[in-house]
């Protein structure tokens, strides 16, 4: 009889363990308005990153990660420290002062309102934690944000990591393909996560590492869609993109070209970047033909390691 009781108790303990374990581990916390397929894809993207073998090649990212030799694990840890809570496209911003009333029609939060992410817009994702922290700092108070399914999130740091994703982030890049969960798309989304995560960095004047107005003559002239420093969000995103493409074993040349064009768009927004042209594929090809080209000649860099002026990227600590 005792043996039977013992078996029953063991079965119950095992059942309790099975019931209590999470269904699948989440690196991010998700508001309950994020559709499950989007959660699934984001977690798949992180698993894709986890599986990238060996060390990654990017002197810039090595400096940012503060590791001479860095791999996917370092990238993941960096990302998880800056992008933590994910809300969906329909998320309605509900901000209140800690211990105070709800804040309505606040100009500071106009950027994060749902209206700005309507169905026609192709906004992919927005880091709204940093700007809310910055708004609170300007008023010498802390805000909190109500996140459905999670509760009130105290915004006492730019690294609170509140990010809203939209349906557009999960659409297929290629109109001829229906797949949105292959390497091409994982790399595309991951580099966007890193871009947004960079907006959780900075302090004082560099708080949130904000974009600056693009100058006259630039394709995005007059828009806040450029970076003054060479260590801003566009650089982080484009370097991650490049590092992951270099490691991609199942990307076709055409897919690498598509991602290369995306990289060019981002690099064109970094206003002060000068890089090592001699190491570029184009200049290597020209050299292999025994030729030279004016655009492959090197110029002196202000900061050879990063290729131009940098902003302080230490995350601000609230006093």
């Amino acid at each position: 009889m005792g043996g039977f009781v013992g078996i029953s108790v063991r079965v119950l303990i095992i059942a309790a363990i099975v019931c209590l374990r999470p269904s699948f581990s989440h690196a991010f916390s998700y508001a309950n308005d994020v559709p499950s397929y989007q959660q699934w894809m984001m977690e798949s993207d992180l698993k894709y990153l986890e599986r990238v073998p060996g060390t990654l090649s990017s002197p810039f990212l090595a400096q940012i990660m503060k590791h001479q030799e860095f791999g996917a694990g370092h990238l993941l840890a960096w990302l998880e420290g800056r992008m933590k809570i994910i809300t969906g496209a329909a998320f309605r911003l509900n901000v209140s002062v800690v211990g105070g009333e709800s804040v309505q029609e606040e100009e500071d939060f106009a950027f994060a309102q749902t209206d700005a992410v309507d169905s026609r817009s192709k906004v992919l994702l927005t880091n709204f934690g940093g700007p809310i922290y910055a708004a609170g700092k300007r008023r010498n108070l802390f805000y909190q944000v109500e996140v459905p399914g999670i509760g009130n999130v105290l915004v006492d740091s730019p690294r609170v990591g509140l990010v809203r994703v939209t349906d557009a982030l999960f659409e297929s890049i290629r109109s001829r393909s229906r797949k949105a969960d292959d390497s091409l798309h994982a790399i595309f989304r991951l580099h966007n996560y890193f871009h947004e995560a960079r907006h959780s960095d900075g302090n004082g004047e560099s708080l949130t590492m904000p974009h600056v107005q693009c100058p006259e003559g630039h394709p995005y002239a007059g828009r806040y869609a450029c970076d003054y420093p060479v260590n801003g969000a566009y650089r982080v995103g484009s370097e991650v993109l490049s590092a992951l493409v270099n490691k991609c074993t199942d990307c076709s040349q055409e897919e690498k070209d598509i991602l290369g064009l995306f990289r060019l768009d981002e690099v064109s927004r970094i206003l002060n970047l000068t890089t090592n042209k001699e190491e570029s594929e184009l200049c290597k090809t020209i050299r292999e033909w025994g030729r030279t080209a004016s655009f492959c000649a090197q110029e002196a860099n202000e900061d050879p390691s990063l290729g131009g002026p940098v902003w302080d990227d230490k995350g601000e600590v609230a006093k």
Binding site: L12, K122, E171, H195, D257, V267, T275, R291
Partner: protein, 166 residues
């Protein structure tokens, strides 16, 4: 003791039944979740809003070049829309990469492709990133076909330097 063990036995059976049921349910959910990306990946917005386009390998190259996204096209977009690569630019990127792939597979197209990429690289109105890609392709094709570097003054320095980032 007998009652206790009977109760434990009954409880064990109930728990096992609940576990089996939840496993069946989880399996269904996981099937739905696994299937979702494929369903959602269907380019709803693109196929609904964009007209059916001619495959790149069948296009009139002069017409296509005229339709490449320009700087003035970008001025019509909102700040939020230009924060990441705008859809029109992404479409053009996809098409240019597809065309380059066609040329790789059909070397007989290299001469016409060289002229196309040269024209695209020299068009001031076209967006920098696309011009830089065209420039890189033109330089490579010119090397392959004529053994010379194409480095004209009609392509600005910033476009050439951007091309070295590809």
């Amino acid at each position: 003791m007998k009652r206790l063990s009977a109760a434990l036995f009954a409880l064990t059976l109930v728990v096992l039944a609940v576990l089996v049921m939840s496993h069946v349910r989880t399996k269904n959910v996981s099937v739905q979740v696994s299937a979702a990306p494929e369903a959602v990946a269907s380019p709803q917005t693109r196929t609904q809003s964009a007209p059916v386009e001619i495959p790149v390998q069948e296009r009139n190259l002069d017409d296509w070049m005229e339709k490449l996204p320009t700087k003035s096209d970008l001025q019509k977009l909102s700040d939020a829309e230009v924060h990441t690569m705008p859809t029109a630019v992404a479409h053009a990127a996809e098409d240019l990469a597809a065309y380059a792939e066609t040329v790789r597979q059909e070397p007989s197209r290299r001469r016409e492709a060289l002229e196309f990429f040269k024209g695209c690289a020299q068009r001031d109105a076209v967006i920098d990133s696309l011009r830089a890609y065209c420039f890189a392709k033109a330089v490579t094709l010119q090397l392959e076909l004529k053994g010379q570097v194409w480095d004209p003054e009609s392509v600005p320095k910033n476009i050439k330097e951007l091309a070295t980032q590809l």
